[in-house]
């Protein structure tokens, strides 16, 4: 059942919030795919569901989503619940406050079911970097679910919950959505508050939404988007101009993908034309710098954002006595942070260090400006740009000894939109071998609502929909 259907049935009392939440809790408990790191207290969740039901009975629901269960990626704070960020460093950490996006949803009556698995601190593309366990891909069991929001994608894909929150810094909502056969939205940067999202790369992080279809994403987006006084980088969606009825395929990304992915993009092109969109050409030549720019900038910001994890005020502190703070901190970080986190924070420190800053960080920032400018210029000539969500189908689960840079390169499709701050929706398609693939639909900043609307049309016109 899509989110829209559930919402409609709740409104006419064909479905009850208590049923929905109880079922979601049961599934979370069984959790056959390793979606959840922790689940909510059952009684607390059912109590919320009962209150929701009362509201429907008195015809005063808080929102169209009142009573609907949802999952939250475990790097987003839910007050009173454990939050690990997929890391041993925060194994015993309890969130002291609610993320603003979570609060908006619970104020709308939604019920948190559990915190989902992720690559440690959002660093990874398969959820295999979680310090605890990997998550399985519910519909394509031998494949990775993608990352870093693998747990959220799997929870929706498996039908545990109709929607989940994730976070997308370089593709971490879109790619797992594609790999698990569902939809994912990376909103315009700043259109959803980051307050309560554990910072990875502050200028790139966005809270994203995973759901069966774009319409589902849209309904949730209505609730969580908009300026938040606690996030100085957040903004209201300006009255966005209507998206012009033209589209382009990003050739630079198209040519870097496998045949299967290109076929999906081709199908999407045809659908767009059937919808009355005229195809045009654009050039995004700076995209060639995306991966290095992304990895330098995100690692640099991460090296600063993760420095607060020192075991002093919260988080795990190394047991051995230390004779200095530096010793205490390096032992704690050494013991409790994973290898990928260490790799990136070291890289980030290097890129920012005196003598290297100009060659690495500054250059990366310049490349970023160029990429953003390319997109801005392209959007003067077209309303929508499409590209594959990933270069190939999801890798097989359990691969070892893959060189990190090879994994980084697989983010090529998604990082450009992150660097430019523009909204992007991933729509699932299937290959001829019935493996998952995704197509990204992108528009200029603040075009999220209409982008989702167009995406929904594409979604419903797919061959196998």
């Amino acid at each position: 059942m899509t989110l829209k259907t559930i919402s409609e049935k709740l409104a006419v009392k064909e479905l009850s919030p208590v049923e929905l939440v109880a079922e979601a809790l049961d599934k979370a408990e069984k959790d056959g795919f390793g979606c959840y790191i922790s689940t909510v207290d059952r009684d607390r969740a059912l109590k919320s569901a009962v209150e929701s039901e009362d509201r429907y009975i008195s015809k005063k629901p808080l929102s169209p989503l009142d009573g609907i269960p949802f999952a939250v990626k475990d790097n987003i704070l839910v007050s009173g619940m454990r939050m690990t960020c997929g890391s041993r460093m925060l194994e015993d950490f309890t969130a002291p406050y609610d993320a603003s996006a979570v609060k908006r949803l619970t104020d709308a009556g939604c019920v948190v079911i559990g915190k989902t698995n992720l690559d440690e601190f959002g660093m990874g593309s398969s959820t295999e970097n979680s310090a605890f366990f990997p998550t399985r891909n519910p519909r394509y069991p031998d494949r990775v679910p993608g990352g870093s929001s693998g747990g959220s994608a799997a929870a929706v894909s498996a039908g545990h919950v109709p929607f989940a929150l994730g976070s997308d810094t370089g593709g971490s909502v879109r790619q797992p959505a594609a790999f698990c056969g569902i939809c994912g939205l990376k909103p315009t940067y700043g259109s959803v508050s980051r307050y309560g999202l554990t910072g990875f790369a502050s200028s790139l992080d966005v809270i994203g939404i995973l759901a069966d279809d774009p319409e589902g994403c849209s309904t949730v987006y209505d609730i969580i988007s908009g300026k938040d006084e606690f996030d100085a980088t957040s903004h209201d969606l300006n009255d966005a101009e209507a998206i012009p009825r033209t589209f382009a395929v990003c050739e630079e990304l198209y040519s870097a993908a496998d045949e299967d992915q290109r076929r999906a993009v081709d199908e999407c092109s045809v659908i767009l034309q059937e919808l009355g969109f005229r195809r045009v050409s654009v050039s995004l030549s700076s995209i060639q710098y995306s991966i290095p720019a992304y990895y330098i900038i995100s690692s640099a910001e991460a090296s600063s954002n993760l420095a607060r994890f020192d075991g002093i005020r919260y988080g795990k502190r190394h047991e051995e006595a230390s004779d200095s703070t530096d010793d205490l901190v390096s032992k704690s970080r050494g013991e409790y942070l994973g290898i990928e986190v260490k790799r990136r924070t070291l890289l980030g420190c290097y890129a920012l260090s005196a003598g290297q800053r100009e060659d690495w960080y500054q250059k990366a920032m310049t490349a970023r400006k160029m990429i953003a400018a390319d997109f801005a210029s392209a959007f003067k000539n077209c309303g929508i740009i499409i590209a594959p969500t990933a270069p190939s189908v999801p890798p097989v689960a359990g691969r070892t000894n893959i060189p990190p840079v090879e994994i980084y390169r697989s983010d090529i499709m998604t990082v450009p939109a992150s660097l430019a701050g523009i909204p992007a929706v991933s729509i699932p398609f299937e290959t001829q071998d019935h493996l998952p693939t995704g197509v990204q639909i992108m528009s200029s900043k603040d075009g999220d609502k209409e982008l989702l609307s167009v995406s929904q049309k594409i979604y419903s016109m797919r061959k196998d929909s």
Binding site: A232, T233, S304, A307, I312, R313, T325, L352, S353
Partner: protein, 467 residues
């Protein structure tokens, strides 16, 4: 020795805690002296997911400081992260301003000499560390996130006295701007002094940084000691090590704190969580137009309008509330010449508070000036005024507080002399202390209504006349 062959090159960095109600990036209170770790929240404690939101008042206060120091106020400035690891710094970075500070290129004048101000920028304070007896380190995060401005001077200061004067003048300006309590003993004013020496005309020598100077008078001592130390080292063929030193107030010396061989690499980069600070002319002008007068200007006016001595003008500008009380009351004086009396009265009763009713305060001053009441009575009445409003002139009449002089004073003096014949003898023997004792007795006997100077005159007349 110092001024002949070497000149001292001194630059000072001052940190001033701004007395906004709430912290710079969160809404925690900033009050000094609260129970440890009771004024904290996820933002100032660096919890995951927490984000800073700039307190606008901090910018306003910083602009005030910049304007008062003749700085250019940047229309575009931004926050940068200063990354380093220390237990009192929760995020392991301090949000400060590096590349584009809020205020630049200012100056102040010390005794006719211009001292350049390189910059004034805003940043957040860190927590406080305490070491307990068992060797544990305790951290109080209340101070974390309290807003600071850092004021950096050009290395234009040349003498220990000038160094003290600079900090003292800076302190006074901040006090009169109303943006800080600037109490060195509470940490709302901190000064780090950079000292080097050189032969005049030569390039700058290696500098050392002196921290932990806890009062303005210690600044002079620290600078004096450090310049002498450096000169002695150079004269005996040694080199100066670039290091951070601590001032030891037990013996007025500086001692090494930690060697500063390599400058810390703070990996500065613009803070992505905060937008740039963009100001327009109108905004800055509004602040300019509401700037309170600066103490140096206030003193100039007192000297010009009231004919005060430089010394009285200095004393009167010890604090903004004394000035305020004086200005308000002076407006009610019908006789301008009574202003000096008014000033002295207000100074004599200042204990952190001043009387709040200007009209009555003025009345008291005029009565003293006219000689209707003694200055002691004037002082007492103004003190009473602090606790409640009443009509001074009426009170003087009904309570019969007028000054005692002439025959009545003589009578009182005689009475006191008779009661303390021993003291009288002492006075004859030349003991000034005894004179004071007897005057005290007269003041007591007349309930302060005698004029002390006149009492002394009559007393001495009577004592020496007798003989």
């Amino acid at each position: 020795m110092m001024t002949d062959r070497y000149e001292a090159v001194i630059g000072i960095e001052t940190h001033v805690e701004l007395k906004t109600e709430t912290k710079i990036f969160c809404s925690c209170p900033t009050k000094f002296g609260a129970e440890p770790n009771t004024q904290i929240c996820p933002i100032c404690m660096g919890y995951p997911g927490a984000l800073p939101s700039l307190n606008k008042k901090v910018v306003d206060y910083a602009i005030r400081a910049g304007l008062a120091l003749n700085c250019e106020i940047a229309r575009y400035s931004k926050h940068d992260r200063k990354n380093y690891c220390y237990p009192d710094l929760p995020k392991s970075y301090q949000i400060s301003q590096f590349e584009l500070p809020l205020c630049r290129n200012g100056h102040i004048e010390i005794n006719g000499r211009r001292i350049g101000i390189t910059r004034v920028h805003i940043e957040e304070d860190a927590g406080k560390l305490f070491h307990d007896r068992e060797g544990k380190t305790l951290i109080d995060f209340n101070r974390c996130g309290v807003p600071l401005i850092e004021i950096v001077s050009e290395p234009d200061i040349r003498t220990p006295e000038e160094a003290s004067e600079y900090v003292s003048d800076l302190r006074e300006i901040m006090l009169f701007l109303g943006i800080s309590d600037v109490k060195m003993n509470e940490g709302s004013l901190r000064a780090d002094v950079n000292v080097s020496v050189r032969r005049p005309g030569e390039k700058a020598g290696t500098k050392t940084e002196i921290k932990n100077i806890n009062s303005i008078r210690f600044i002079e001592k620290a600078v004096w000691f450090e310049t002498e130390r450096q000169i002695n080292l150079l004269e005996s063929g040694h080199r100066i090590i670039s290091e951070t030193r601590r001032f030891n107030e037990n013996n007025d010396t500086t001692e090494p704190m930690r060697e500063k061989e390599t400058a810390d690499d703070y990996r500065y980069f613009p803070d992505p969580d905060l937008p740039p600070i963009i100001l327009n002319d109108q905004y800055i002008d509004e602040i300019k137009n509401t700037l309170p007068p600066l103490p140096s200007d206030i003193r100039k006016r007192y000297i010009k309008d009231f004919g005060f001595s430089g010394n009285l003008a200095e004393r009167l500008t010890v604090s903004p509330d004394v000035c305020e009380a004086f200005n308000a009351a002076a407006a009610f004086l019908t006789e301008k010449k009574a202003a000096e009396v008014l000033a002295n009265l207000l100074l004599s009763v200042y204990d952190g508070t001043s009387p709040t009713d200007p009209a009555q305060t003025a009345a008291a001053a005029e009565l003293v000036y006219e000689g209707t009441i003694s200055s002691a009575t004037g002082k007492a009445l103004i003190c009473e005024l602090k606790t409640g409003l009443f009509d001074i002139r009426l009170s003087v009449e009904t309570r019969d507080l007028s000054q005692i002089r002439g025959e009545e004073l003589k009578k009182a003096a005689v009475g006191v002399m008779n009661a303390d014949k021993e003291a009288v003898q002492s006075v004859l023997g030349g003991k000034e202390k005894a004179v004071k004792k007897l005057i005290g007795g007269i003041m007591k006997a007349t309930h302060g209504r005698a004029d002390a100077a006149e009492a002394e005159k009559i007393l001495k007349e009577l004592i020496f006349q007798k003989e």
